[in-house]
């Protein structure tokens, strides 16, 4: 280990802030050695590189693709195809001597609480809501009121084009990602009948190729959106359909964008949001200044604009409130209609294979064996299955905790 004398010379700028009190510092701030050592001991989990596929078995997709090179400064052309976590860790270790980095290349939900307990903070820049909700609920569930060490601040960042946001979450103490789900409205889905019979936009033709034509003509083939042959096939199908309906605008690039749900991303926005997250982590770790409480929205497409505010906790948050939430439903819906409806609601979006039960009784359980037994319930009306005010529990692989709802029938 290098002597403290030598290693601190490098940090001359930083030490001014660590060694001096400022007008906004908290009274508990101790300038000097103690803070420096606290910073050096800090162990942070960065979960920035996991893609939307991290919740599926396809973890191999977390490797470097050529389209990452326009914004990710830790990767070079020679790294294409290698695991992101490993390349990034090696590069940072080379540039910043004295930092210890352990790459973990795999799915976040394979790790248990003991794994997360070793860190002081978690910073994440995940690109899917499911992954965010998972890590959020895990950290909320870990909090043990008798052990302050069990509370791990979660700092989350995300970008889209010239816009982004960063937020600081103190699990159980401040508004959590689940409380803030309304900040991510789900994209309106195009009705299937539009795709099947009355397409009007190039996107409709592409979705048709993706959802209907593939299923009809290449059943059994698993669609791989990273396979150029597959994208080309969809593109040609979509193009043909567009020509049949006199619709213009189907291109290869649009096909890729629709099928892979590509979100534009640039280096500068990522720099802003990543640095903002690290700035908050630094302030939390060192207490050198107050940290963000608790949400900053950044927008750079029309001048520069930030909206910094405190997002309030939701008393009925299914994760950190752990309360039962009232759910207004139509009793004449069938259970299967209800499940489809649920998948489009802001609070329950992204459900994959939800299972429902009430007071120990299975309503519909998506586990082989049980699925067949409970399938007949799908066509039954909600009012036949559940009575007014009864508690229904929803569980799903996309949810780390079960959601509890009180069913109230719309009059």
């Amino acid at each position: 280990m290098p002597s403290l004398e030598r290693s601190r010379k490098r940090w001359r700028h930083l030490d001014n802030v660590l060694g001096r009190t400022g007008p906004f510092t908290d009274e508990t701030f101790v300038p000097g050695l103690e803070t420096i050592q606290a910073l050096e001991r800090n162990k942070i989990l960065f979960a920035p590189l996991l893609s939307r596929d991290c919740l599926s078995p396809n973890v191999w997709k977390n490797t470097i693709d050529v389209s990452n090179l326009n914004r990710q400064f830790l990767f070079r052309e020679a790294d294409i195809g290698k695991p992101k976590a490993v390349v990034a860790a090696n590069f940072v270790k080379k540039r910043v001597g004295g930092v210890k980095i352990t790459p973990y290349y795999g799915a976040i939900q394979d790790k248990d609480e003991d794994y997360y307990m070793q860190f002081q903070q978690v910073i994440c820049g995940l690109d899917s809501i499911e992954a965010r909700r998972w890590i959020n609920a895990t950290l909320v569930n870990m909090v043990d009121p008798d052990n302050i060490e069990s509370l791990k601040p979660l700092i989350d960042g995300g970008t889209e084009g010239f816009k982004g946001q960063s937020r600081v979450i103190l699990p159980t103490l401040s508004s959590c990602i689940e409380c803030q789900l309304d900040m991510h409205a789900p994209r309106a889905a195009v009705p299937l009948c539009t795709l099947a019979t009355i397409p009007r936009q190039p996107e409709h033709c592409i979705e048709w190729a993706n959802v209907i034509a593939w299923e009809e003509e290449r059943k059994g083939d698993t669609l791989d959106t990273d396979d150029p042959e597959h994208i080309t096939w969809l593109y040609q199908k979509a193009l043909k359909r567009a020509m049949d309906f006199n619709i213009s605008g189907v291109t290869y690039s649009l096909t890729q964008g629709v099928v892979k749900n590509i979100i534009p991303a640039i280096a500068s926005t990522n720099a802003i949001i990543a640095a903002s997250c690290c700035n908050e982590a630094f302030k939390i770790a060192t207490n050198t200044n107050p940290y963000l409480s608790n949400y900053m929205m950044y927008s750079g497409d029309d001048s520069v604009y930030t909206y910094t505010f405190e997002h309030e906790r939701k008393a009925d948050c299914p994760v950190c409130g752990n309360l039962i939430k009232d759910l207004w439903v139509d009793g004449s819906w069938t259970l299967s209609e209800f499940i489809e409806w649920m998948k489009e609601q802001p609070d329950t979006q992204g459900l994959k294979r939800p299972s429902l039960s009430k007071s120990g009784k299975s309503l519909y359980i998506q586990v082989s064996g049980l699925e067949e037994q409970t399938r007949p319930n799908l066509d039954k009306k909600l009012s036949e299955l559940v009575s007014e005010g009864e508690e229904v529990v929803v569980s799903d692989q996309a949810l780390p905790v079960d959601l509890r709802f009180n069913f109230i029938f719309k009059k």
Binding site: R10, W11, R12, H13, L14, N16, V17, R20, T21, G22, P23, F24, V66, S67, L69, N70, R71, F73, R76, E77, K94, R95, F162, I198, R200, T232, Y235, Q236, F245, N246, I247, Y252, S253, I262, P264, I266, A267, S268, T269, N270, A271, I272, A274, A275, S276, N279, F282, N289, P290, L292, M296, Y298, G300, D301, D302, S303, V304, Y305, T306, T308
Partner: protein, 586 residues
């Protein structure tokens, strides 16, 4: 049975460049990328901050054409603590060289150069700045270099960014040329639809009449598929007949009209309602507003560049003038021609879309004819403006913006080291710039007090060496930073506060005690930094600078006009317009 299918048409997949830049081409398209690749960015720095290097990183990754780093310093150990693009074993080497090479690794498509000399010496060559299309100037920098570069940039219309990142704070000013128009501002598509429902042209009215003929007698399927735009035109026609030819104008009238539309929907059908009617009802409040010219467009039409075209007028002004002619003739802008998606049968929607597109093409053709006539009159037919450019301008017309740059003024100092700035005279009208400063100072959310503290910092460190002196190096041109040593903290706080309050007194004549106490907090925090850079803040600021540079280079999106201040403690940005009047002594 096997059938032989014709071979699929040959599909040109994306090129390797399109693959690499896919995520950004979706934002600024091939045209923006071409502008980026034509750019040559100059970074001038002499201080410890990595903010300029961080900005360059975000320009090199997306493929800026060339960059040049001018930096006289050698790598010191402390650089490795703030700058990701140096390594500890490079101590003693020229910092410009080390950073240039490490940045170059990011993208082999980009050409990087460095000059490891003080910029003051390089500026003696009057041609030195001529290769560069955008300049990033990072503080602390001598006022000699700042003044010379700012004058050049203003005279040669080269965009200049002046950037300072210090501890948890930063700011930068974007100095644009005197006239900087942006056509592709990328407004939010949901707020910009122009359907002309209140003043339809004959073809659109005819289509509405045809497609809503016998509406009440239609079968449920047809009734539920009449496009909402045509439904609205149908119900508007009925409304006009009852209301002396007027369209619903007030909020109340629009509510009544919406109810009239809703009453037309069939609810006793299988779906229990009709989506096209729901869309129509939803569109009433925002689609029935008469189209008015934006303030920005009025300014463009009134600009002297627009009213007096010359042989050498930039293309922007020739087209703007033709659109002005169109507008004065028809009292509307050329139709953009896009139609949002709506519930409809495919063929009906495509027909509707074609009616809009055809009208947009006719309008653009009329504008083009005016442009051609102007080219004739001005004797510039040898290099005609392309049809595509005119069409594109017509499509974007309502959201075109014009920015008026300001030369970058610096705070000068009198013989006693006191700042000289523009000032407000009690009782008299002050300039617009100062008026907005005064309002900003009274707004407790504004970061104007922080900006004043930054200006005071420049005065504090500036030695104001005369232009004709012999610059030996940046270090001799600047005083040490306030708070550079623990022993100097107290004295430096006093001195910096005195300078800041002196600037404040020029700009604000009212009771300034509350503003003064905010400034005092910023002064203490800034002295605490001791001139030091925090990598997180310089990385964040470098990201903002790069976003703005990309907007300026591609002439797309809306640039910040013109000064951005960032507070990394409260995580907030404040944008205001820095004017020459703030610095000009009367």
């Amino acid at each position: 049975m096997e059938t032989t299918l014709p071979a699929p048409p040959h599909i040109q997949g994306p090129s390797s460049k399109e693959k690499k830049y896919d995520r950004q081409l979706r934002l600024w398209a091939a045209s923006g990328q071409a502008s980026l690749e034509d750019a040559h960015v100059l970074l001038v720095q002499a201080g410890p901050s990595a903010v300029g290097i961080e900005a360059l990183k975000n320009l090199i990754l997306p493929g800026v054409g060339q960059y040049t780093i001018v930096d006289p310093c050698e790598v010191m150990e402390e650089d490795a603590g703030v700058n990701f693009f140096v390594e500890e074993d490079c101590v003693g080497q020229p910092r410009a060289k080390v950073s240039c090479e490490m940045l170059q690794e990011l993208n082999p498509d980009v050409k990087g150069r460095y000059i490891a000399q003080p910029v003051e010496a390089l500026l003696r060559d009057p041609e030195f700045l001529s290769p560069y299309t955008l300049i990033l100037l990072v503080s602390p920098i001598s006022s000699l270099a700042l003044k010379t570069i700012a004058t050049y940039a203003w005279e040669q219309h080269v965009p200049l960014f002046h950037i300072h990142s210090l501890g948890f704070y930063s700011h930068f000013t974007v100095c644009l040329p005197p006239s900087f128009p942006v056509v592709e501002t990328h407004p939010d598509p949901t707020t910009t639809t122009d359907l002309r429902l209140t003043n339809p042209w004959p073809e659109l009215s005819a289509l509405a009449k045809e497609k809503t003929d016998g509406l009440e007698r239609m079968n449920d399927h047809d009734h539920g598929h009449v496009p909402c735009v045509l439904l609205l035109l149908h119900y508007l026609e009925a409304w006009k007949q009852k209301n002396d030819g007027r369209v619903p104008a007030t909020y109340r009238e629009k509510q009544d009209f919406r109810k009239a539309v809703e009453r037309g929907a069939r609810i006793y059908n299988a779906e229990g309602g009709e989506e096209n009617y729901e869309e129509a009802a939803k569109a009433v409040l925002k689609s029935l507003n008469p189209t008015t010219l934006s303030r920005h467009l009025r300014e463009i039409f009134q600009a002297k560049e627009c009213t007096t075209l010359t042989k050498d007028s930039p293309r922007f002004w020739v087209i703007a003038s033709a659109i002005k002619t169109f507008e004065s003739r028809h009292h509307v802008l050329p139709l953009p021609g896009s139609v949002p998606d709506m519930k409809a049968k495919s063929a009906d929607y495509i027909r509707l879309q074609n009616v809009y597109k055809a009208k947009a093409r006719r309008d653009a053709a009329e504008v083009l004819a005016t442009v051609r006539a102007q080219e004739q009159a001005l004797g510039r037919t040898d290099n005609p403006i392309s049809e595509a450019e005119v069409e594109n301008f017509c499509k974007e017309a309502a959201f075109v913006r014009l920015f008026r740059g300001e030369p970058l003024q610096v705070v000068s100092i009198d013989g006693n080291g006191n700042p000289i700035v523009g000032h407000e005279e009690p009782g008299s009208e002050c300039s617009d710039g100062l008026k907005s400063i005064r309002l900003a100072l009274e707004d407790t959310e504004s970061l104007m007090p922080l900006y004043i503290t930054f200006l005071a910092y420049d005065v504090f460190t500036n030695r104001d060496v005369p232009l004709d002196s012999d610059p030996a190096g940046a270090s001799t041109l600047l005083h040490p930073a306030p708070g550079h040593a623990d022993s100097s903290v107290h004295g430096d706080e006093h001195k910096l506060l005195r300078i800041a309050l002196s600037i404040l007194s020029h700009w604000y004549t009212g009771d300034s005690s509350e503003i003064g106490s905010r400034i005092s907090d910023f002064v203490r925090e800034i002295v605490r930094f001791g001139g030091g850079d925090l990598h997180n803040i310089s990385a964040l600021t470098g990201g903002m600078v790069a976003q703005e540079a990309i907007k300026v280079i591609t002439r797309q999106y809306v640039p910040a006009d013109n000064t951005v201040v960032f507070d990394g403690i409260r995580s907030k940005v404040w944008v205001f317009r820095r004017t020459a009047g703030m610095f000009r002594r009367r």
